[in-house]
Symmetry: C2
Subunit: 121 residues, 2 copies
DNA sequence: ACGGGTACTTACCAAAAGGTGCATACTTGA
DNA sequence: TCAAGTATGCACCTTTTGGTAAGTACCCGT
């Protein structure tokens, strides 16, 4: 019954759209590592410490279906697959950089605020 | 034994930190509207169509505790409160701009990918 | 034949996020 | 006095997200 608003078909602003693509517990990390170059599944898993197979695969599939990453199956004798950023994905990573910078500059404030929320809940 | 990595205690990269602050179903929208200037609670609620009181208050509180927005209670006779961006919040919004731009440019691709996922699940 | 490595897949569960709706306390205007 | 508006709080429930643990199917070295 929340069916008003015939003018706004999807997103209120670009950021809104972008967040649909990059939010997910492991996605920023995955993008961070893939930005360094094509990476094999196992290698990626070892890089993104703490991720489970289920999660890694799931997030990779979503990124793939969003056109951000590309899966390459070499069809070789011992299984061999790798993941890389598409040009589209690379453009996203470029756009993310200022946000990375902001986060780096204020990492401590952010961490402090998170702690505050965690303890006083 | 997941106690490796003595250098980075919290975030893998700045983006990771930033996402803790801006993810939340209504936060980008809220920031988008607050960027236009201080806004009263009720006004904000009417702008962010579809949000419930609970959600709006919750997200505002989180943004406030993160130092992004400022709540001003004028202590007036008929209740009067408004919300605005702090300078810190304004710097965040500036850093978000490229991501907004990216999202705007690719809104259609993103929407298409979302549909694809929704229907084939 | 066995253990280990590759890249996944699946079923089941817990926790977090979000939504609905009612309650509060105070006001002003009809 | 009653309805409506202000800004919030709270209980309850559903949906979404994430985590655990196991299994698959293939290959390689010993």
């Amino acid at each position: 019954m929340a069916k008003e608003n015939s003018e706004n078909p999807r997103f209120i602003c670009g950021l809104h759209a972008t967040l649909h693509v990059i939010s997910g517990k492991w996605k920023p990390l995955i993008l961070f590592f893939l930005d360094k170059g094509p990476t094999r599944y196992g290698e990626l898993k070892r890089s993104v410490r703490g991720v489970s197979d289920k999660m890694l695969i799931q997030q990779l599939k979503e990124l793939e279906s969003d056109g951000i990453v590309q899966r390459t199956d070499y069809g070789e004798i011992p299984l061999r697959v790798d993941y890389s950023l598409t040009p589209f994905g690379a453009s996203l990573v470029r756009a993310m950089e200022p946000l990375c910078g902001w986060g780096e500059e204020h990492e401590e404030d952010i961490a402090a605020a998170m702690d505050r929320r965690k303890t006083s809940r």
